[in-house]
């Protein structure tokens, strides 16, 4: 059987043109996907059932028992953290927010260690954005800053920018100018028309110089800014101003390096400035397939995109205080429910050390580094492969993930609703 137009649950490109070959309950082939997407569909080393850590090793336990114990741990906790969420569907995220509210916990997503700074900048100055089809159909200048789409979002260039023709861009490869800004050469800089090779930590200064030039204050720009020549800066500013439509994409090379949210603010204000001359938009290269979905769901339910603390009965948001890494590093958190992510692989040592000292329950189809810290792990269906649900693309377009096969695993929504029911009240209305 071939399932057509399947949506890929790997990265936030959410390519929706995959053909997935399914035979006897297994994926046997995937057409149109990149290597990362294919691998996710084809991989087969899932856990079989819930396990509990004991003194003598892992013990298989019935699902019912795993749920009961998780509910008890959540109820007993003073300051539970519900973390992760980027690798599951919106319906599960919604159940998670209700659960956090119910237990007076803190809910945070992987956002706080990837594009959290982008959100902080947006909260200061806004976000001139668009859906990716605007870029495909119109853009003649495309900037990628601090990211390597060829590796992290392998089909971004072929679906939305360099390699795809659009309505007003009949021969994209020839007509679109590609600018890559990075501290090093990558497979993405290799295909660029113009490479801005800046010194590490120099993003803020280079963006500032470009803003000055676009504003007509280029005389303040010195001969070299963070390794970039004045001449190149003027050339790029000119290219940007003369664009019919420009699109600015950026990744964690901008969000998580020196300057952090100030870098993003500078990028946004550069784009604002360019809009006084021509049309420009800006899009964060969100990573996990539904990390933006969490931000959307959490915002309509609580008012804030991530890092929400319900301990006082209302939604309280203060990144730096209510973000997962900070709660753990301050050793406030006394229980952690991890859903669809792998904090042990990405958090700083201090935070992971505290994670090792508290009860951790993980909902995840696969064993990962966090498994090593978990008291209980409940394997669940993979959203977009054996579970349906909603996911939001990096530009905010919501899509319905398909279920291409049934492996008999419960999905995140079912488990979370059951935990909420055990705690004494349904997750929702």
């Amino acid at each position: 059987m071939i399932v057509r137009d399947v949506i890929c649950p790997f990265c936030a490109c959410l390519c929706d043109d995959l053909d997935v070959h399914v035979e006897e309950g297994r994926v046997t082939g995937v057409d149109n996907a990149c290597d990362l997407g294919s691998h996710k569909f084809m991989t087969d080393h899932r856990m079989e059932g819930p396990v509990r850590r004991t003194a003598s090793g892992w013990q298989d336990i019935p699902l019912e028992e795993a749920i009961r114990e998780t509910a008890e741990l959540l109820q007993a906790a003073e300051r539970p953290l519900l973390y992760g969420w980027s690798g599951t569907c919106g319906e599960a995220q919604s159940a998670g927010v209700h659960l956090a509210e119910r237990v007076g916990g803190i809910i945070d997503a992987t956002t706080s260690v990837c594009h959290g700074p982008s959100i902080l900048a947006i909260q200061e100055v806004g976000h001139p954005g668009c859906t990716l089809g605007q870029v495909k159909n119109r853009a003649d200048v495309v900037v990628y800053w601090g990211c390597n789409p060829q590796h992290a979002h392998p089909r971004h260039l072929s679906r939305y920018t360099t390699y795809t023709d659009g309505f007003f861009v009949k021969n994209a490869f020839k007509e679109r100018r590609l600018i890559l800004a990075d501290i090093r050469g990558t497979d993405s800089t290799n295909v660029a028309d113009e490479v801005v090779r800046l010194q590490p930590g120099g993003d803020y200064a280079v963006l500032g110089a470009l803003r000055a030039i676009v504003r007509g204050k280029g005389d303040v720009v010195p001969p070299e800014v963070a390794g970039v020549s004045r001449e190149q800066l003027f050339r790029i500013a000119d290219l940007c101003k003369k664009a019919r439509y420009g699109a600015f994409f950026f990744g964690m090379g901008l969000t998580q390096t020196a300057g952090k949210y100030k870098n993003i603010r500078n990028a946004i204000e550069l784009v604002d400035e360019l809009n006084r001359h021509t049309k420009w938009t800006l899009t964060p290269m969100r990573g996990h397939f539904n990390v933006y979905g969490f931000n959307e769901v959490c915002t309509w339910m609580t008012g804030y995109p991530y890092a929400v603390d319900f301990s006082r009965g209302m939604a309280f948001y203060n990144p730096g205080e209510t973000t997962a890494v900070d709660i753990l590093a301050r050793k406030e958190c006394d229980m952690c429910l991890v859903v669809a992510s792998d904090p042990a692989a990405h958090f700083p040592a201090e935070a992971v050390e505290h994670l090792a000292s508290i009860p951790v329950v993980q909902l995840d189809p696969f064993p990962n580094l966090t498994t090593a810290f978990a008291r209980i792990q409940i394997p669940v269906a993979v959203s977009g492969i054996d579970a349906e649900g909603t996911a939001y693309r990096m530009d905010g377009v919501p899509l319905r993930l398909r279920k291409v096969l049934d492996r008999g695993y419960p999905d995140d929504v079912t488990i979370l609703s059951e935990i909420a029911r055990r705690i004494g009240e349904g997750g929702g209305a």
Binding site: H127, F168, P305, V397, R400, A429
Partner: protein, 566 residues
């Protein structure tokens, strides 16, 4: 379900010609009936004002841009927080509350149905997800066609039937309710950072004018026999001198439908400006109101502006950019491929600003100078003119000349010569208010037939009982009592069930979404049109098969089918 009996209700029910009568209302299985057997739950209304549930025919409460307003404004979220309590979830937000915040606050004010003013079809799934989290109102979504490529191509070819067919396919696919045109043609121009100034300019490449888009879609709307008319946000919003553009737009709609208007103009306050710049802006509410008075085929809503902090959000992207250049505050924009655009900025409407004072006066002038309340509905374009929680104040301003005079004292110097409000003696009565907040909306939206906006047998039992005795209240003098009463019902009844008492929410609730599905002949089914499908998969970034919103997104679904005349 056992029945419900509301006794001693002082009923104003304009659609049934009841102008104030003490009576009992019987409810069974969610509907109003002639009588109900003993044993029914009884609510004693104690002679208080009882109206059909409120209907907002233009508000922004759910979807991509609304949520982005929340996302970019933690300061607004902090400004309106409530704790989790009983069946109520915690809420955040002042001008752009969370979905539960919107739902609880509307419910406390007696509102039971609301129409989201602008939904981009590509992002419809998002709107429906938020509708599902808006449990205490029935919801509908205006669907944006202002920059729709296939529609503009049909308009260029003067092919009304093809335009109608595209609208029919799209509305059914995204579970939308009505055709919305926001700055028609302007959104496509904004794709290049440009705009159209008025209805006769030409959209680049597509070679159509806003006037042609409006004219063709008004006719297409009637061919599809949709419940609502075309819902128009005119070109040139918020620009001094734009009133002529507004009146010109009204002239594009012939009188095509005996049951309702043929064109609905929304938030007309923003479109009734005279002058040539911010320096000499003045009210042109009078010529605009006269134009409405002369055209029974037009219905408008006020788009009243109220002083204070709020957020502007609209599919009029270029207008928001202009506002940003004026205010230098934070600005968000969101262009949607092949369809439309959106912009958001926070604003503060100040009594010290002559421009803002003129805006405030214009909305009221419109409502007082449009003779027929059925043609001018009460709304703020929430939250653009102000959050909907300000409606009670607007009601009081319309009912009390004294209240208006008090407020006029506080306006910026230099305002009086630019407005006509001080000369208007009219004070609206209870019946006018009932028309402007529920009955008129039901007629304008075409949802009377499904039992909305009235209290006769066969109506859906959506009922608001306000703590106010009409016989003991002189609204002209006791306007503060009027405000207080409309802020919080004694009882709000939804689908026959008490859902709020004195502002406390009693039940979790379940959303119902009303959408349309025009049935078209086979040859007009765009789902089977090869050219449409080819261009769809070529220029959108989602496959046509992944575009339609699945049934499961609607908790309760009410599909209004129609037989299109193509």
């Amino acid at each position: 379900m056992t029945g419900l009996l509301i006794k001693n209700a002082y009923v104003i029910d304009p659609l049934n010609g009841i102008r104030g009568e003490v009576m009992d209302i019987a409810v069974r299985d969610g509907w109003i009936v002639e009588s109900v057997q003993d044993g029914a739950e009884v609510i004693d209304a104690k002679g208080c004002l009882t109206l059909p549930g409120g209907i907002d025919s233009h508000t922004h409460i759910c979807g991509t841009k609304v949520n982005f307003g929340r996302y970019m404004m933690p300061e607004d979220m902090r400004a309106g927080r409530t704790q989790r309590r009983g069946v109520m979830h915690s809420t955040s937000g002042y001008s752009v509350p969370t979905t539960y915040g919107n739902s609880y606050r509307y419910c406390a004010m007696g509102y039971t149905s609301v129409l989201e003013g602008a939904m981009a079809p590509l992002e419809a799934r998002h709107t429906h997800e938020e509708f599902a989290a808006t449990p205490l109102q029935d919801t509908m979504a205006n669907t944006l066609f202002d920059g729709n490529w296939p529609v503009m191509e049909a308009v260029r070819d003067h092919d009304v039937k093809r335009a109608a067919a595209i609208v029919a396919w799209t509305l059914a696919a995204v579970k939308g309710f009505a055709i919305k045109l926001t700055n028609p043609g302007g959104s496509e121009c904004w794709g290049w950072g440009k705009n159209v100034k008025c209805i006769r300019e030409t959209v680049p490449y597509f070679e159509v004018s806003p006037a042609e888009i409006i004219e063709i879609l008004v006719r297409a709307n009637e061919l599809l026999r949709l419940p609502h008319s075309v819902h128009l946000h005119c070109n040139n919003l918020g620009v001094p001198g734009n009133y002529q553009c507004t009146i010109g737009s009204m002239d594009l709609a012939p009188d095509l439908n005996p049951d309702r208007q043929s064109l609905y103009l929304t938030h007309v306050q923003f479109h009734a400006y005279g002058g040539t710049s911010w320096k000499d802006i003045c009210s042109k509410a009078e010529p605009v109101a006269c134009a409405v008075n002369q055209r029974p085929q037009i219905t408008i809503d006020m788009g009243q502006m109220m002083f204070g902090k709020t957020t502007t959000m609209t599919a009029d992207g270029p207008m928001e950019f202009n506002l940003y250049r004026l205010h230098h505050n934070k600005w968000s924009n969101h262009d949607v491929e092949l369809e439309t655009t959106a912009g958001i900025i926070p604003v503060y409407y100040s009594r010290t600003s002559v421009v803002n004072c003129v805006m405030w006066a214009i909305g009221l002038e419109l409502a007082l100078m449009v003779r027929n309340p059925w043609q001018c509905l009460l709304a703020t374009d929430n939250p653009n003119g102000g959050p909907f929680i300000k409606y009670p104040e607007i009601i009081a301003l319309l009912m009390s000349r004294r209240y208006r005079e008090e407020e006029l004292q506080n306006l910026a110097p230099g305002t009086m010569s630019r407005i006509t409000l001080p000369a208007l003696d009219r004070e609206l009565d209870w019946h006018d208010i009932a028309v402007m907040t529920r009955a008129g909306q039901a007629r304008a939206l075409g949802i009377r037939s499904i039992g909305k906006g009235h209290l006769g047998p066969g109506a859906e039992a959506d009922i608001a009982i306000y703590p106010l005795r009409v016989d003991e209240t002189d609204p002209s003098r006791q306007y503060r009592d009027v405000i207080r009463a409309f802020q919080k019902t004694s009882w709000t009844v939804k689908r026959g069930r008490p859902v709020a008492r004195d502002g406390e929410i009693l039940v979790p609730g379940t959303n119902k979404t009303i959408w349309v599905k025009p049935k078209v002949p086979e040859e007009y089914d765009m789902g089977k049109d090869p050219e449409f499908a080819r261009n769809f998969d070529r220029y959108y970034t989602v496959r046509m098969s992944n575009y339609p919103v699945q049934d499961l997104y609607l908790q309760r679904s009410l599909c209004m089918e129609s037989e299109a005349q193509l």
